[in-house]
């Protein structure tokens, strides 16, 4: 694996033994390296703060793997180029932030509608509009799920550190292949720009693109098979003669937007492909939830001060617990429900107006008190702020 400036660095004994290299890099670089480790060989992007480093690093590293790097004319072109490249046979991704993520939404909808595996990295900054280009936020948590028009589902992963940026980008590529779906890596400016230790293994677990089980003559590209998933995905020019249409289509890809039954079934299929697997997609980190009276439900950057606050609270004799969501969508409802049955109070610190706290409230359905702890302005909560909210609420 290419290591940039660290190419000439000797690995220490621990690293040798564990086939791991330790780098001190920021989350954006970790995303780029994660993408390449996962097999990404095509990247198209457009410069935007605070995500530009992903694009810059891809431009430097990808050619070493005979991967294609493209800087397109805008974010719309970027997402569309990677969608074309996905059908061209490549594992592919793009990276952007707020305004660019907005421009990409139509393409994300096309990907969901056509069962196209792509990864979109959104390094969240403050919005709306041009907003706060150099500051962090978590204001796009709903846009990531609902941003394109129509009914569809995406998988959204939320790293809270540079290490998770690497790990979850790898995971995003794997999930994109398993579910044939767009997967969003929703990081933020703090994760993206904080340099910290990242352990990069020589080999990571990779899901390769599944080849069709059937021969071209028998291949039905959009027929739901085992577990609601499709047969494998051929690249173009392999003799399958596949029609991939952004209009609702039948199992063969043929235009069917004018046929109610087929249209309804298709939309239901692409949604259930994800929602039926919500349990398989759960990825959370738990700390001291078993006896927790007060629990934090967190994701992304605020998870880190929240864990500190939970530990400090325990030291003060408060039975605090902590839940971090690494997969935000689909929401791990069963886990949140379990926390709601255990704790009297759930505190949700997030860097927006309190979007996910309402989701938690919906799931908990009155069994515990849900306290929203929103923070706007670009800075993450301090542990003291979170602790204070907990003591006040206690």
């Amino acid at each position: 694996m290419g290591r940039g400036k660290s190419d000439f660095r000797m690995r220490n004994k621990w690293e040798e033994r564990n086939s791991v290299e330790t780098l001190v890099i920021h989350g954006n670089e970790a995303c780029a390296r994660g993408a390449i480790a996962a097999g990404c060989r095509f990247f198209a992007g457009y410069p935007i703060t605070p995500a530009s480093e992903v694009t810059e690093i891809m431009s430097r590293l990808l050619p070493r793997y005979r991967g294609v790097f493209l800087q397109m004319e805008d974010e719309i072109a970027s997402i569309c180029a990677i969608l074309g490249a996905a059908w061209g046979g490549a594992k592919t991704c793009t990276a952007t932030s707020g305004p660019g993520f907005t421009l990409m939404q139509e393409g994300i909808g096309w990907a969901a509608e056509t069962d196209t595996p792509v990864v979109v990295i959104n390094v969240m900054r403050g919005g709306p509009a041009t907003g706060q280009p150099t500051s962090s936020s978590q204001q796009d948590v709903m846009q990531a799920k609902y941003g394109s028009h129509g009914d569809y589902e995406v998988i959204v992963l939320v790293p809270s550190s540079a290490q998770e940026a690497f790990d979850l980008t790898v995971k995003a590529f794997n999930l994109a292949e398993v579910y044939r779906n767009p997967v969003i890596v929703l990081t933020d400016e703090i994760v993206g720009h904080t340099r910290e230790k990242v352990r990069i293994p020589d080999k990571v677990e990779i899901v390769e693109r599944k080849k069709p089980a059937s021969l071209p003559a028998d291949y039905v590209p959009f027929r739901s098979a085992a577990e609601g998933l499709l047969d494998g995905m051929p690249a173009f020019n392999q003799g399958y003669g596949i029609l991939v249409d952004g209009q609702l289509h039948d199992e063969f890809g043929g235009r069917a937007g004018h046929i109610p039954e087929i249209s309804a079934a298709m939309v239901e299929r692409i949604c259930r492909k994800i929602t039926d697997h919500a349990d398989d997609l759960v990825d959370v980190e738990e700390w001291m939830l078993e006896d927790a009276e007060v629990a934090f439900v967190t994701f992304g950057s605020p998870a880190r001060p929240a864990l500190r606050a939970a530990k400090d609270a325990r030291a003060q004799g408060i039975r605090a617990g902590f839940l971090k969501l690494r997969v935000l969508w689909p929401l791990p409802e069963k886990i949140i429900d379990r926390v709601g049955r255990q704790a009297r109070r759930i505190i949700v610190p997030e860097m927006n107006m309190g979007k996910i706290s309402r989701e938690v409230e919906r799931v908990v359905a009155g069994r515990a008190e849900v306290v929203s702890l929103p923070k706007l302005g670009g800075e993450v909560h301090t542990p003291a702020e979170i602790l204070k909210s907990m003591i006040n609420a206690h």
Partner: protein, 272 residues
């Protein structure tokens, strides 16, 4: 069924959605002949935009992306750059190509990426019911220019050429023989090839702009308005109003093709 249609069309998607008398059928016919003559069917990767012309590739039994409005060209770039051996052909309309998709069009031309872009120009947004387009003639009456179009239309071939396209040609749906030769030449040209096909639209442009829905009359108008390169040299500009030059307008060989440039630029050995 005609032998070429039988050989190449995706039977499941028939019949064609095009209106009777539409120029798109002529382009489909000519394209099938070009593909057959060149023997490149298995290398084809087709991309259709949104609008009437965007449906055209969906009738071929090859690999086809039918994409988002205006975005056919960036999708095509992704296909081409993942395998330089592909023959990537984009079918687009005037609104798709230089209305909503204008930015992608000029940038792809600038890069001189090896795509063949066939833009069928009917001078109107047909599929949505006949609204004014960036190619509607001045004073043309449409559903959104009821008092006459006040915006000068694009000369899309000039735009392609100045943006960096290396093969530029224009014909009409009334010139199938010339169009066949041009499409073959365009597909064989290693670079950004742009082919504009002026086409009749009896249902929308004919009815609103030309005052007739008679396809034969509209085809005659296309012929009458076509000026050959030789004739154009002798025609004073003031007499060119409402007319267009047809033929091979630009053919530049030797300019570096983008896909090749990217692949040539890869380091020889994977650096570790």
């Amino acid at each position: 069924m005609l032998p070429l249609a039988d050989k190449y069309l995706r039977k499941r998607t028939l019949p064609l959605i095009f209106c009777p008398g539409c120029g798109d059928g002529t382009v489909l016919n000519v394209f099938l002949r070009a593909v057959d003559d060149l023997g490149i069917f298995k290398d084809l990767s087709l991309v259709g935009g949104i609008g009437c012309s965007g449906w055209l590739p969906t009738y071929l039994q090859s690999d086809v992306l039918h994409v988002l409005h205006g975005r056919a060209i960036p999708f095509a770039c992704g296909l081409k750059l993942t395998d330089p051996r592909r023959k990537v052909v984009v079918f687009t309309g005037d609104g798709d190509c230089v209305g909503i998709g204008g930015n992608h069009f000029i940038h792809a031309a600038r890069r001189n990426i090896d795509l063949t872009v066939i833009m069928i120009n009917n001078g109107i947004y047909g599929m949505t019911g006949g609204q004014v387009a960036p190619t509607t003639p001045l004073q043309g009456r449409t559903q959104t220019s009821p008092y006459g179009n006040l915006e000068p239309p694009f000369d899309v071939c000039e735009l392609a050429r100045s943006a960096g396209a290396t093969y530029v040609a224009r014909w009409t749906a009334a010139h199938p023989v010339q169009l066949l030769k041009t499409i073959k030449e365009g597909m064989e040209h290693p670079g950004f090839s742009f082919i504009e096909v002026m086409a009749q639209c009896p249902t929308q442009a004919g009815r609103y702009i030309e005052g007739t829905s008679n396809a034969a009359e509209l085809l005659n108008l296309l012929k009458k308005r076509s000026v050959s390169l030789e004739q154009a040299k002798e025609t004073p500009p003031e007499e060119m109003g409402g007319k267009y030059v047809v033929g091979k307008l630009h053919h530049l060989t030797g300019k570096r093709e983008f896909t090749q440039a990217i692949y040539d630029n890869f380091p020889q050995e994977k650096s570790r």
